[in-house]
């Protein structure tokens, strides 16, 4: 579904990605792991069009979308749940969710989608009218996840969705990701909780200093001694 080849990009004079290639198959859950500053977030930002690519290409279902820009990507069904929550602070929880559904052409099924998110995260239901900026860190993270799902994407890019979530909510979150994958949505997942991500994914890439250094089935990476030492802490 998503095909990235030789992607290069950076900020100012900093090179963040030095030519990476990866592919995500339809309906797959692909994990991207790597150390702080490796360029994981940058990869996702480039796919969704927030950061322009300097070289290389991004193809979505065969079409070149390297310079499509965020709006176009969303129209093509790519949603990005950004790093660091990034909720709209002066809008209520429900308005934030409504922003997630901004591009949806029709309101059909909108109600059901709200309810689905509220049942997944009951805390959000409780706080429907609270300004998102005053939510606790974890509550904001739940909101960010819910918001990304509101567009009914075909491909979701999750950037550290477990960040700041309580252990029981983390589990729930992984369950949700598993279930949307099972429902046919493709997922590209960046996670520091590498163990959980590698367990859950169909395929994984390891990013170091802006280059892909390893890829394979999740289980294979878990067993790799380098990965164990550098990312799993054992």
């Amino acid at each position: 579904m998503l095909e990235i080849s030789d992607l290069v990009c950076g900020y100012g004079q900093v090179a963040a990605l030095r030519g990476i290639s990866l592919s995500v198959g339809e309906g797959q859950l692909v994990a991207l792991v790597g150390a702080n500053g490796a360029g994981k977030s940058t990869t996702l930002r480039t796919i969704s069009g927030l950061v322009p690519a300097r070289a290389g290409s991004i193809r979505l279902q065969g079409d070149d979308v390297t310079r499509a820009g965020p709006q176009k990507m969303l129209k093509l069904g790519v949603a990005h749940c950004p790093e660091g929550r990034r909720v709209f602070p002066h809008m209520s929880v429900s308005e934030n969710l409504a922003m997630g559904a901004y591009l949806r052409a029709s309101d059909a099924g909108l109600k059901a989608d709200y309810e689905r998110i509220y049942t997944s995260f009951p805390r959000l239901a409780e706080r429907r009218h609270q300004m998102a900026g005053t939510l606790s860190g974890g509550e904001q993270q739940m909101l960010a996840i819910g918001r990304a799902l509101m567009s009914r994407p075909r491909l979701v890019l999750f950037d550290e969705p477990s960040l700041g979530l309580a252990p029981n909510i983390v589990e729930q979150m992984f369950a949700i990701i598993g279930s949307i994958r099972d429902a046919g949505t493709t997922v590209l997942l960046v996670e520091q909780n590498a163990f959980a991500a590698l367990e859950l994914c169909d395929y994984a890439y390891l990013l170091e200093a802006g280059r892909i250094v390893m890829s394979g089935k999740g289980a294979d990476l878990i067993d790799d001694p380098h990965v164990r030492a550098a990312y799993l802490g054992s």
Binding site: A166, I169, A194
Partner: protein
């Protein structure tokens, strides 16, 4: 629950906090002993960050009070609390984004070698030799702190251009620059992977060994269980459990409200470690 004991560095006494109709903290009561690593855990929205905000003077509790080394903090402003030796980090990344990492730490060290002599004012206004010496000392100290958190390679980069995990380290370095007696860390390892977390644990231990008491808020349970001397668990702003890690891990109330199935995994890991 413990009452004010002589070795407690921080006493939280029946603190409550309401936002409009919402009770974020209800009658919170616990102590932190000098030199320990105490973790504060609890579900999202339980009131942990709010408790930090109260302890550091950013919020005034609607009820109760906090004592730091026996001193009531209710009328004390955040900057004064920092000067008393109680420093914190923030849950959301918080750095001086437009300055380099080194300048960040220098700002944090703005009181380094503080002295109230009248001559200090002169040093400020004229480039006396004493002023130059002080300036060199402060720069050395900054580099030492940066080295300690492992950011030496990025010391000259703008803090805002660092990756998320690196920015969290800058936040930690800033708190260290205050030379605190006690550190409040709000989710310090979020955004770090397991190996980076282990490095950070070593760092915390080192800081503690230098005599700094640590109160930790963190959702990374393996890390919490490993590093804590004692754990306090909150739910809906109330204390639901308090005790050593082993007790908390198996406490049914904590499992129900917070740990969920991960409790079982923690046990496995423990076994694997053993």
């Amino acid at each position: 629950m413990s009452t004010t004991s002589s070795s407690a560095i921080l006493n939280v006494e029946h603190v409550g906090m309401k936002f409009g109709g919402l009770t974020a903290i209800a009658d919170l009561h616990f102590d932190v002993q000098e030199g320990e690593i105490l973790s504060l855990i609890g579900p999202n929205g339980a009131g942990k960050t709010t408790a930090f905000n109260i302890m550091t003077g950013f919020l005034k509790p609607t009820q109760g009070r906090v004592l730091f080394r026996g001193r009531d903090l209710s009328q004390t402003r955040p900057n004064e609390i920092a000067r008393l030796g109680l420093a914190r980090t923030f849950q959301r990344t918080s750095v001086f984004a437009d300055d380099t990492v080194r300048d960040n730490v220098l700002i944090g060290l703005h009181r380094f070698g503080d002295d109230t002599r009248a001559a200090a004012l002169l040093d400020r206004l004229f480039p006396t030799p004493a002023a130059r010496r002080a300036e060199n000392a402060v720069r050395e100290r900054a580099d030492a702190i940066i080295d300690m958190v492992g950011l030496t390679a990025r010391a000259g980069d703008k803090a805002g251009s660092l990756s998320y995990g690196e920015q969290r380290l800058v936040g930690f370095a800033l708190a260290l620059a205050v030379e605190p007696k006690m550190l409040l860390l709000d989710e310090p390892v979020s955004g770090m992977n397991a190996s980076e977390t282990q490095g950070f644990v070593r760092l915390i231990r080192k800081v503690r060994d230098e005599g700094v008491t640590i109160l930790l808020v963190e959702h990374d349970m393996p890390m919490v269980m490993e590093v804590s001397d004692r754990i306090v668990c909150l739910n809906y702003g109330r204390l639901i459990a308090e005790g050593p890690p082993e007790a908390i891990r198996t406490d049914p109330k904590v499992i129900e409200a917070y740990l969920g199935k991960s409790a079982a995994k923690l046990e496995q890991r423990e076994v694997a470690h053993a």
